[in-house]
Symmetry: C2
Subunit: 254 residues, 2 copies
């Protein structure tokens, strides 16, 4: 990217921390995404060879950037013809995100009301999902999650107690996942989720402020680190009248 010149002493420009140098393909991807999103749909981008020249990188690096953008549906490629801006993306790929991030992405202000926070035995199902013993202690946090002050979701998080000493003494009104990452080094990067549609029982309905029997989304998630080790189990109950899931999907390989 920067200059092609051998070494003008400053490779990191504009107040960047020298050590935090991101790879060229990542920076290029970011720049291209910004430009593409200002283009009208189906407009052709410069060719890969042109981009390589313009940004002073090799064609492989350009392709690495474009691969990611094509993967997430920002551009599409037509073999032999070119690379084009895709239609305005209304739905993103489904990614792992916290309630806080999810609401912020929807333009809503996330809120929180702790209903319970305690330590208890794992029990059969949780133990199995977290790969613990049945009587191992787990921390349970139940929260009513708000969007613009209104009830949106009833959420229960289970964590291995051994991994999060002192968690119950902390302020849980913050994003729990920021705490887990910052204080306990738990980096959730993958999850397996099971979505089901349910009718709300009386207790849940009252908490969510809707009639008993109203439809709701139930999502059960096992969050894992990069090595696929389970770190947390979360169950969420979302009001169906206020929550929908938008997803962009692609045909898989072979």
């Amino acid at each position: 990217m920067n200059e092609t010149a051998p070494s003008t002493s400053s490779d990191t420009a504009e107040g960047e921390v020298p050590g935090s140098q991101r790879p060229k393909h990542a920076r290029l991807r970011q720049r291209l995404r910004a430009e593409v999103q200002r283009m009208t749909a189906h407009t052709a981008l410069p060719t890969e060879r042109e981009l390589a020249g313009q940004y002073g990188v090799s064609r492989s690096t350009v392709r690495q950037a474009l691969d990611a953008l094509a993967e997430s549906g920002v551009v599409y490629r037509v073999h032999g013809a070119g690379t084009f801006a895709a239609s305005t993306v209304v739905a993103k790929n489904l990614t792992m995100s916290s309630f806080t991030e999810d609401m912020e992405a929807r333009g809503l202000v996330p809120g929180n009301r702790i209903l319970a926070a305690d330590e208890r035995e794992a029990g059969r199902q949780i133990a199995e999902e977290l790969r613990l013993g049945e009587s191992d202690p787990v921390v349970r946090v139940m929260r009513l999650r708000l969007a613009d002050e209104w009830p949106m979701c009833l959420e229960t998080v289970h964590l291995p107690a051994a991994r999060v000493p002192g968690l119950l003494e902390r302020d849980l009104n913050d994003s729990l996942y920021r705490i887990l990452r910052a204080e306990y080094g738990m980096r959730l990067v993958r999850a397996e989720q099971v979505w089901t549609a349910v009718s709300l029982d009386e207790r849940s309905a009252v908490l969510l402020g809707v009639p008993t029997g109203s439809p709701a989304f139930q999502v059960r998630r096992v969050g894992m680190d990069e090595r696929s080790r389970p770190l947390e189990v979360t169950t969420g109950l979302y009001r169906a009248d206020r929550y929908e899931m938008r997803v962009a999907v692609r045909r898989g390989l072979e």
Copy 2:
């Protein structure tokens, strides 16, 4: 792949059509996936350089194959340490699939009962989603979809009539998407889906064989080709007691 030897006359083995030669990275990915799934979790794969040697390809090609496997959660990589088999993947990435494929993936036998098949005006919403005029004709196909002979889903497909001449004279008990692809060259590769949880009205509940007010998944999908041009709009109503959605998700880039 195969032998590194210059040309043993047969590069395409086992009854492959010579013209259908798939790229090396795709074949390697397939072989590696098969091997990895026979390994126990967290076992290290050979190094990238070893794999390159073993299969007679360059390291870049190995990486192209491994990138795809890491993306889909089959393996994970640890910088400086190696590449490892991930835990048994119970959920796949969410991909675009037809009802038929979906049921077959679940080990169920898909079935079909046509409820209606006709041509009508698009109307406002469909027209907008298919980028047609409001009074342009669309073909509508309503089907009750069965799994192991039992009602699973109520599905309504809308197609631009101009794109599918003679469709209504065909046997629609087959996979509709196979017909669209084979006969009309419509290649659905992307879709935007909106999932909601609903309570079934009386008419839908009767058709699905459950009590009125039972919970259900509703999914509305706009299917598109590689250039993001909409080709079909489908609405599905799934019995919540027989259908759940399992998804593997990852944290997005930046």
